[in-house]
């Protein structure tokens, strides 16, 4: 039969309730308890315990919680699902090559090879389920059929459909398994409830009446799924490692070793036509300590750049050891491994037309990377302006070498945020570059203060009578400020002042809520201060230096 010849025999590995399992793996959510994953307030997936309580896909959050009050709600995160699925794919790949990931939680592979090798599809399926369970601790089901579509449904049913039996297997299944809500709703109203019923319609009429997508669905329903697997190619093994007979303890020896290693890495990358934008350096000391650091580079890492970074990193580790600082390795380096990351196809670098700008930039980049080697990559930062009210809020410090626009699209590592309690909040999503030009009511007018204190200084602002100046709920100042004492110093006369500029930020989140009033004070000695009165306490936020 021609249809059978065209339909590739396929094995599908299906992990039930993958979003829930992924949340358990990545975030440590207890998956045996009732857990549901929500996207846009609707249940996407639920754990077995939650399903037993009546939580179904598509329920609203409130309804799901009313059915099962102890339900743990987890936000849907496609990236988390894919990330957690990677080890499962690797485990399947260990047994049989040529795996295609259909979506997070489901992967397909050609059945011919494994079934011939393990002696039958049933044996192969058993081995795969067992290996996935042992390697990743994940429950899975395997199904086999002709064609991917039928095999996915077979996997959900946990069946091995006999060769040529796909059409019969599909005929009894509900029409909703096509996963095309609009089409199936229409078909249901036309009285077609099973795939068999849909498949019985003449193909030409389906195409004419419902369009191309429906015609494709019609082929699937009839068990004529001829799409070959788009096999995932395992990433080439690119990292290079070197084990030294004698532990490296001196920087010059380490530098020599790093140069050779860098050349090997660069040659290997060049052989694949790749270049890397991130470089992981791993070292194991003679005492078994493992050190790891990732270097980023906004250009592409060349051979010299790789060698420099490895040398600087080793220098940092070894000299820190010599100074017996904290976190220092206690012995020389025995094993060194370079892991390239952030691969790009290398198309050659185009220097600037006049060369100058690029060269200066390279020089500066190298000097700064050297400092990052001495102090650690997060010690060198660059400022990016964002929206905000206070001078401190309007600046986001980004690690040098990271994307200056990062933190809007991909948060990356939240370390780039200013560590003043503002970092990692939800408000940052809104503070895009557009947020800079957006109106921020209550924002202080320019010029901005030149000194923004990382830690505000406590102060006291008093009036003529010697009492402390306050602001009431209607923003009326109790008395004009007459003197200020910063950090318990002798009081200084206030010659001019303005304010209050009220601040009432993040009242919707109790932990980050901030309420206060800002003042500008001009002192008799010529200084100008930006003060914040919050909960009855005055602080100096910034100095107009």
């Amino acid at each position: 039969m021609p249809a059978e010849a065209a339909n590739p025999r396929t094995l599908v590995v299906w992990c039930p309730d993958w979003p829930v399992t992924a949340a358990g793996i990545v975030d440590g959510v207890p998956t045996f308890a009732p857990v549901a994953v929500f996207a846009a307030n609707r249940v996407v997936a639920a754990s077995t315990a939650a399903r037993a309580e009546g939580v179904r896909r598509g329920l609203r959050k409130r309804e799901a919680q009313s059915r099962c009050p102890q339900l743990v709600a987890v936000a849907y995160d496609p990236a988390r699902d894919v990330r957690a699925f990677e080890p499962v794919v690797a485990a399947v790949e260990a047994l049989a090559p040529g795996v295609e990931v259909l979506r997070a939680g489901v992967c397909a592979l050609g059945a011919r090879g494994p079934s011939a090798y393990f002696g039958g599809e049933a044996r192969a399926a058993e081995r795969i389920v067992e290996h996935v369970a042992v390697a990743c601790g994940v429950e899975s089901q395997v199904g086999a059929a002709d064609g991917v579509f039928a095999a996915v449904l077979a996997a959900r049913a946990g069946q091995l459909v006999p060769v040529g039996g796909s059409a019969r297997f599909l005929a009894d299944l509900d029409i909703s398994t096509l996963d095309r809500p609009q089409l199936t709703g229409l078909l249901r109203r036309l009285g077609i409830r099973s795939l068999g019923g849909f498949a019985a319609l003449p193909a030409a009429d389906v195409l004419a009446r419902f369009g191309f997508d429906a015609a494709y669905a019609h082929r699937l329903a009839a068990g004529r799924d001829t799409r070959p697997l788009a096999v995932r190619r395992p990433p080439p093994d690119l990292d290079v490692a070197e084990t030294f007979d004698e532990p490296l303890e001196r920087v010059d020896v380490a530098a020599f070793a790093s140069r050779a290693l860098a050349r090997r890495l660069h040659e290997r990358l060049a052989g694949h036509g790749l270049a890397c934008t991130r470089l992981g350096i791993e070292a194991v000391t003679a005492h078994g300590e493992e050190l790891h650091r990732t270097w980023r580079h906004d250009g592409l890492l060349t051979e010299a750049a790789i060698a420099d970074r490895v040398r600087w990193q080793l220098d940092g580790w070894l000299t820190r050891a010599a100074r017996t600082g904290q976190g220092a390795p206690t012995a020389g380096i025995l094993r060194l491994r370079l892991v390239p990351d952030g691969m790009l196809t290398h198309v050659g670098l185009q220097p600037g037309l006049w060369g100058e700008a690029g060269r200066q930039r390279d020089r500066a980049g190298r000097a700064i990377a050297r400092v990052q080697g001495i102090l650690g990559p997060e010690a060198v930062v660059t400022a990016v302006l964002t929206g905000g009210r206070s001078p401190g809020d309007q600046v986001r410090l980004v690690r040098w070498g990271d994307d200056r626009g990062a933190g809007q699209s991909d948060r990356g590592d939240g370390r780039s945020d200013r560590g003043d309690g503002q970092g990692g909040d939800r408000g940052h999503g809104a503070r895009t570059r557009a947020g800079r030009s957006a109106p921020w009511p209550g924002r202080l007018p320019g010029p901005a203060p030149a000194v923004v204190l990382p830690e505000p200084l406590p102060a006291v602002v008093g009036d003529e009578a010697g009492g402390v100046v306050g602001v009431n709920g209607r923003l009326a100042v109790s008395a004009p400020p007459a003197w200020v004492s910063v950090d318990r110093a002798a009081p200084v006369e206030v010659v001019a002042w303005a304010g209050p500029w009220p601040v009432d930020e993040r009242w919707w989140a109790a932990a980050q809520a901030r309420r206060g009033a800002r003042f500008q004070l001009c002192l008799a000695d010529g200084r100008a201060l930006l003060m914040l009165l919050s909960a009855g306490h005055w602080v100096v936020e910034a100095i107009y230096d």
Partner: protein, 279 residues
């Protein structure tokens, strides 16, 4: 020794008397002119004199308002400039009133203005050890933030970090964490000279070529309970060694209106106009 022989004995004497010992290669016609003009160039820059075309290359631009304060009309590569903050220096003047350690004299604004023109024209800058630097003010002054690296807390490795940055960054601003040993100071100055970088010290520094000191700041725009800080009148005094030994003084608006600087004589109408918005 070939070129030396070619120069006459009298010329050599002139070169030596001018302290231009390392310059034999271009001495022949140049050395005759040297004593007549500014013969302290060698002492001031510590680097070789070059022709007019090279001189512009070796001097990083500064905004016009600060130009009269610097002997070369800009930041000469290889030199050390200090911006006095009034902290840690041997006080020959009575110390300011309480809280002088807090700053407020205008030193930070002078520092930012000093970097602005060079940064805008493509130079790279790094600031070491000033965690309180206001980046918004820096942008308003005209500094290109994407070419400004900040090392807020260099820790005990301060001098090593500064030395490493001098290798590749055009202007390195460093705030010494405390008194700096003379050996370290001269080593950093030598590094800057060798690499053609400008070392700007934020704080006291004995051996700087030029020391800028801001004083007499008077803010405008703020009244009793109304208005806002708009601009400040400031006097900046430059003293130094060599070519900068003559005391120079400039009165300017800093910041003027929306950041940046303006000469003191400018009409007040200009202050209202939005000079430039920080971006």
């Amino acid at each position: 020794m070939g070129p030396v022989r070619a120069v006459s004995g009298r010329t050599l004497e002139l070169i030596r008397s001018a302290g231009l010992t390392g310059l034999v290669r271009q001495a022949s016609d140049y050395a005759v002119r040297a004593p007549g003009g500014d013969n302290h160039a060698g002492a001031a820059g510590g680097d070789d004199r070059t022709g007019a075309v090279g001189a512009t290359d070796r001097v990083l631009p500064v905004v016009p308002e600060l130009r009269p304060l610097l002997p070369a009309g800009g930041l000469r590569r290889g030199t050390t400039v200090a911006v006095a903050t009034g902290v840690g220096e041997p006080s020959d003047e009575p110390p300011g009133p309480a809280g002088a350690g807090l700053g407020g004299t205008g030193a930070t604004s002078v520092l930012l203005t000093l970097l602005a023109a060079a940064s805008r024209s493509g130079s790279w800058c790094a600031v070491v050890g000033i965690p309180a630097l206001g980046a918004v003010a820096a942008a308003e002054a005209g500094i290109e933030l994407s070419r400004l690296a900040l090392v807020p807390s260099p820790g005990p490795d301060w001098s090593r970090v500064v030395a490493a940055l001098l290798d590749g960054v055009d202007i390195v601003v460093a705030a010494p964490p405390g008194p700096v040993a003379a050996v370290v100071a001269s080593r950093l100055a030598a590094r800057a000279r060798q690499r053609g970088a400008v070392l700007v010290l934020y704080g006291w520094w004995d051996s700087a070529h030029v020391v800028l000191r801001a004083s007499g700041g008077r803010w405008e725009g703020l009244g009793p309970g109304r208005g806002r800080l708009r601009c400040r009148q400031l006097t900046v005094v430059a003293v130094g060694r060599g070519a900068a030994a003559r005391r120079r003084e400039a009165h300017l608006w800093l910041p003027a209106g929306q950041g940046g600087a303006a000469p003191a004589g400018s009409p007040p109408g200009r202050l209202r106009a939005p000079v430039r918005h920080g971006s």
